[in-house]
Amino acid sequence: MKQARAPKASLFKSLLDQEMGTQAKQVELITLLLLVVVILVVLWLWQWRLELHADTGIIHLNVFELLLNKN
């Protein structure tokens, strides 16, 4: 039974067969890369000015300012 199933779940199996220590190291690396991506995305969003039509006229805000804005 196990043998019949093995080829189907090959990706899963290869993930399981990997030595846990090295796998964790890889995950760590990926996480660090992802963190860099997040920082880049945040910086990019930071300078993206949105146009808002308020009673007093047009205001330019980035998305973070918009979300935390009172009123």
């Binding site: 846990m20 964790a24 995950v27 760590e28 990926i30 996480t31 660090l32 992802l34 963190l35 997040v38 995305v41 969003l45 949105l50 808002l52 039509h53 998305v63 918009l66 979300l67 935390l68 804005n69 009172k70 009123n71």
Partner: protein
């Protein structure tokens, strides 16, 4: 409280080796917390600005933005789960390894006191509880604290009044959580204890099924088990009731509080203090608090429960192991194997009844020294002392002039091969059992050992020969077969000192005689200490010591002891059930033999003389009762050299005494 702090310090120490992964996981969790703040804020902007202003581009932008956040959220929370699981498993293995090694290294005295079932629960349940706590509960606690802080900050920014009122509920919640946690802790303590008792019970009964059957006590033992289980079920029910109360309180508190805040939020909107979007956002945040709070309660309770486990583990971890790591010791390599017992007295630490009193003897290399005595006389205790399973209360044991307390424990035990009274065979193949503890595999030597122990033919006749599975789940061996296997195992180790503790008790005397004949030559290169009742095996001994009333009462060769007509004589007679006349004949025969032997060697023997140093040492030792170290200081020798001098002097004296008698 200080106790709690101590436990948390232990937990953080456990996590220390994984600080990088823990930190990363924490960063991921922090991001997840931040991301989860976004949705209510987006809702707020949608309600307060985007819908009223009909701003389609901004709507699209915000939806894309929340998608992005959602993706990041999932990614980081998965990564943090992975890292936590990794820490969980590695920690679990580490802890088990550390605990098991420690357990095996604890002195035997410790193992006598503890019950196996109890230790089993500690190695399994308690370690699980701790690992779960450290690797799962701690992250949840930290996450909850971060989440609360973030929610508090952002809600305060939106509306101070509503937020303050909302957060007033928190201390109330904490107080009730704490109340229940201490109840749970107490129940947990009793549960673990009760579980230990059940394990111990199972363990003991399952390993003595034969005895239970032969006394027809199957039903009785089952009833006793049920009694013990009933206690456990009762505790489980107590736990359930407590949980029910607890979740009822939890739910009521949160429901009432949410209802009140909904009303007050609406009131703030109606009176124009805050916008609809803002009250929606705050209520959404409060909804978010709900879950972590519930989690926090559960986790806090499990942490408190784990205090019980950590104390149970600590209790064992703090027990002093045997002195394996002691570096200030001699290494015993390439020894002659002379064993000297120098005025040894022994009693178990918690009793004041001496099991051995003032026992002195020498087991010289190349000879078989036998110890015989009634059962319970303390024969096996002598062996435990040599292997340092226990330490003498008074006196010193020397091996090759080294006091064994000054010798590294590993090398001491490496030089001694033992066939113990109760033969333990591990489950595995015969080969594995024979090679237990030997790194180098030598097939010829192994076959030599099994042949000598008269078990080779039996093994060959098994279908799988040396690869036959024995022990639990394998072939069941008879007492005699196991004993022969055990003798073969001891011979295979081939070290200088061989200890036989009633090693042939389950063998017939013909097989026994064959084995002794087989190993006669091997024994000449070893120091053999043999414990036995059997007169037939005692004939193989060069010297016999008789132990009774905690003391060595007689010594001499087999023939000597018989002619002396003392303890040993009576013992021997009782064993063989010989009549008084038969014994008298035997003694007469021995006397004649001795006379002939003496007349044959009737040459004048060399006078035996003690040197001045020997006289001095003897005087200081026996008259002034000084220790070797003190005498050493006076005569300018090392302590072990003094021991050597004293011993040779002692032997000379004994020879002199013998001459005087004859």
């Amino acid at each position: 409280m200080r106790q709690r702090l101590r436990v948390f310090i232990i937990y953080f120490k456990l996590l220390l080796p994984y600080w990088d992964k823990s930190l990363l996981s924490l960063v991921c969790v922090g991001l997840v917390v931040l991301f989860s703040l976004a949705t209510p804020l987006i809702t707020k902007v949608l309600i307060d600005y985007v819908y009223p202003a009909r701003d389609l581009p901004l709507l699209s932008f915000l939806v894309l933005f929340s998608l992005l956040i959602f993706i990041f959220n999932v990614l980081f929370s998965d990564i943090s789960s992975y890292l936590d699981t990794f820490i969980h498993q590695t920690l679990s293995i580490d802890l088990r390894k550390k605990f098991f090694t420690h357990l095996l290294r604890l002195p035997l005295g410790f193992h006598y006191e503890k019950q196996v079932g109890d230790l089993l629960v500690r190695v399994t349940n308690d370690i699980d509880v701790i690992v779960d706590t450290v690797a799962e509960a701690l992250p949840v606690i930290i996450k909850t604290i971060m989440q609360l802080a973030a929610l508090l900050a952002i809600c305060l920014m939106i509306d101070v009044n509503l937020t303050l009122l909302a957060f007033v509920g928190i201390p109330v919640y904490f107080i009730q959580t704490k109340f229940f946690a201490s109840r749970f802790e107490e129940i947990q303590d009793r549960t673990q204890r009760s579980e230990s008792a059940v394990y111990t019970f199972y363990q003991e009964k399952m390993s003595h099924v034969k005895t239970i059957k032969s006394f027809n006590q199957e039903i009785y033992e089952t009833d006793r088990l049920i009694d013990k289980l009933k206690n456990l079920f009762k505790l489980a029910r107590e736990n359930l009731f407590m949980s029910l109360f607890n979740s009822f309180f939890d739910a009521s508190l949160i429901t009432v509080w949410t209802a009140f805040l909904t009303w007050y939020g609406g009131y703030r909107v109606i009176t124009g203090h805050i916008s609809i979007g803002e009250v929606m956002a705050i209520l959404m945040y409060l909804g978010q608090i709900h879950q972590p709070f519930m989690d926090f309660g559960t986790v806090y309770k499990s942490v408190v429960k784990s205090f019980v486990s950590i104390n149970r583990l600590e209790e064992i971890m703090q027990a002093e192991p045997e002195a394996y790591q002691d570096t200030k010791t001699y290494l015993l390599f390439d020894i002659d194997g002379e064993i000297i017992f120098d005025r040894i007295s022994f009693r178990y630490p918690d009793s004041d009844e001496y099991i051995l009193k003032d026992v002195s003897f020498v087991a010289p290399p190349g000879e078989v020294t036998a110890i015989c005595g009634a059962s319970g006389a303390g024969k096996s205790t002598i062996i435990d002392l040599i292997l340092r399973f226990i330490d003498a209360s008074e006196g010193t044991i020397f091996i090759d002039n080294y006091g064994i307390k000054q010798v590294s424990l590993m090398t001491l035990r490496a030089n001694i091969s033992i066939v113990s009274q109760d033969v333990i065979i591990f489950s595995g193949t015969i080969r594995e059992n024979l090679q237990y503890g030997c790194k180098v595999v030598d097939k010829d030597k192994m076959v030599g050992a099994t042949k000598a122990a008269e078990i080779h033919d039996f093994i060959l006749q098994l279908p799988k020969g040396y690869d036959t599975q024995i022990g639990e789940g394998g072939l069941a061996l008879s007492g005699g077969q196991r004993q022969r296997l055990s003798i073969a195992r001891a011979l295979y180790r081939d070290v200088k000192i061989l200890v036989l503790d009633e090693a042939t008790s389950a063998l017939d005397s013909i097989t026994e005689a064959k084995i002794f004949d087989n190993i006669k030559d091997r024994l000449k290169q070893k120091t053999v200490l043999m414990i036995t009742h059997r007169p037939s095996s005692l004939k193989n001994a060069n010297k016999i010591y008789v132990i009774s009333d905690n003391k060595l009462t007689e010594s001499g060769s087999f023939d000597d002891l018989i002619s002396q007509q003392g303890e040993f004589y009576k013992f021997y007679q009782a064993q063989l059930q010989e009549s008084d006349e038969q014994m008298a004949e035997k003694v007469e025969l021995l006397r004649l033999k001795k006379k002939i032997a003496e007349s044959e060697k009737n040459k004048p023997s060399l006078p035996i003389k003690l040197s001045n140093l020997e006289k001095q040492v003897l005087h200081l030792y026996y008259e002034d009762k000084k220790t070797y170290a003190k005498i050493g200081q006076e005569v300018g020798l090392e302590a072990y050299e003094v021991a050597r001098v004293r011993k040779s002097a002692w032997e000379k004296l004994e020879q002199l005494k013998e001459l005087e008698i004859s």
